[in-house]
Symmetry: D2
Subunit: 153 residues, 4 copies
């Protein structure tokens, strides 16, 4: 059962914008990384600590759908949910919302679990247990293996 989504607040800077006053399409991945880092801390598993226990979670796939433009000085809410929690991989679903509630971006990232030498390894059980409450299910509309986080085939 899902307890709650994690939300992260982000204020848009000039550095993130491009011509036409909107956030450059690649910068949303920077913003998602920032939000995921805070999510892991919130779940009691900061990425720096995972690294000390020989665990990395490199992104092996990323997808973004741009629904609307974020502008300079906008306050964005980044939703972080886990779409898939498997033995050696992890997938996130993200939504980035304008403070008005308008959906701006849907994003999904798929991560492998590896050692520092980038060899695949199982997600440590302590990490899996900490993440489990954040796994969303279809009924909640964020879709385990459906929607934007579906495997590419």
């Amino acid at each position: 059962m899902n307890t709650s989504l994690f939300h992260w607040r982000h204020r848009v800077t000039y550095a993130e914008c491009t011509i036409g006053n909107h956030v450059y399409y690649a910068r949303y991945l920077d913003i998602l990384e920032e939000a995921r880092g805070e999510f892991f801390r919130h779940a009691g598993q900061p990425l720096t600590r995972l690294q000390e226990t020989d665990t990395l979670l490199p992104v092996i796939e990323a997808r973004l759908r741009y629904r609307g433009a974020a502008r300079y000085d906008d306050v964005l809410t980044v939703e972080v949910a886990i779409a898939e929690l498997a033995k050696v991989r992890l997938a996130f679903n993200h939504r980035i919302l304008h403070e008005s509630g308008r959906l701006l971006v849907e994003g999904a990232t798929v991560h492998a679990c590896t050692s520092l030498e980038e060899k695949p390894k199982r997600i440590p059980s302590e990490l899996a247990a900490a993440l489990a409450p954040f796994v969303v299910t279809d009924a909640e509309g964020h879709g385990g293996r459906v929607g934007i986080a579906a495997p590419v085939s």
Copy 2:
């Protein structure tokens, strides 16, 4: 029939790398933008000229699959191919290769065609004609509507 893929050469800088000596996952989208800009110039349709004729091609979807890490000072080859050329949208398939020939990243971007006021419009016929030779077909393995460029839903 496809004449040839467009190729763009890119040398990796420190600015693009992150910890662990590999290109940060978002920076590949910057590199793809650079390559597409040069592709449009190569096709005789530089983006600055399209803008003067009230045509923008904003990205509405982007997908990346990370197959291997690009490192500082690596020389990358970015392949640019058109996966879909429709009335009001355009999709690109990209591959980023290491100079050894190793595949590092597969990327796809979907673009709308809009006016400067961001209203949807048909792709101008002159632009469509210039892009047509770069449309790839399934037999070539870059897949019109298959693979990573397939629609998400």
Copy 3:
């Protein structure tokens, strides 16, 4: 008389780091921009509002001295102080500190005051009044026209 420095907290992301686990030298300018944007809001003069009254503050000079490396996940404190408040220009002194108190970066930016058409104009009196409490003086060691904010000549 100086009331107090403005302080801004920033957590380092992977996006900001480069090889060797330290923040890339250019990213500190992004961080300073973020801090200045928040400073203007704190002073009751958000940059978006200044823009509505035909006022821009483009950077005409920037200087950075790197004293130590900020690393992934470090929490930085960015100090914002005004080193010079003249008729048509404004200069900031910044220090970026590690949470341990260690000085990492000293930075200075010099800004012109212009209209949206980039023509020089006087700093509006309301803005000048709002900024005046943040002007630092030599005795405080952040130096009006000394140190890193000194004119280049």
Copy 4:
């Protein structure tokens, strides 16, 4: 005597621009890094090779003067010259020019010479010999220790 400046060509992308169609102030440091990397290769001393011989050249100071705006798709010329070649430090003077010849940015960077463990070391004699032809002198107007590359204190 100076043989010649090194010049590097850079085409501006959307990724580098911000609101108002000009290059974001921090991105010029990325462009200077790219140009210096190519300069070291040109001088027969690629940075990757220096690293293999336990030599790093971290930036300890950077200064930029913004004289004009570079816009999307502009072709820039980056001049690279050595302003100072001392025992354990190295300083560069840069100018970024529009293809029309207009000066856009003056930049200076000061580098320490260190081991991979970031301990100061002398610039290896082979490196110093390779760089010597690129040292500019006052008479050429790029100034050894004058102008923007002058020491701050």
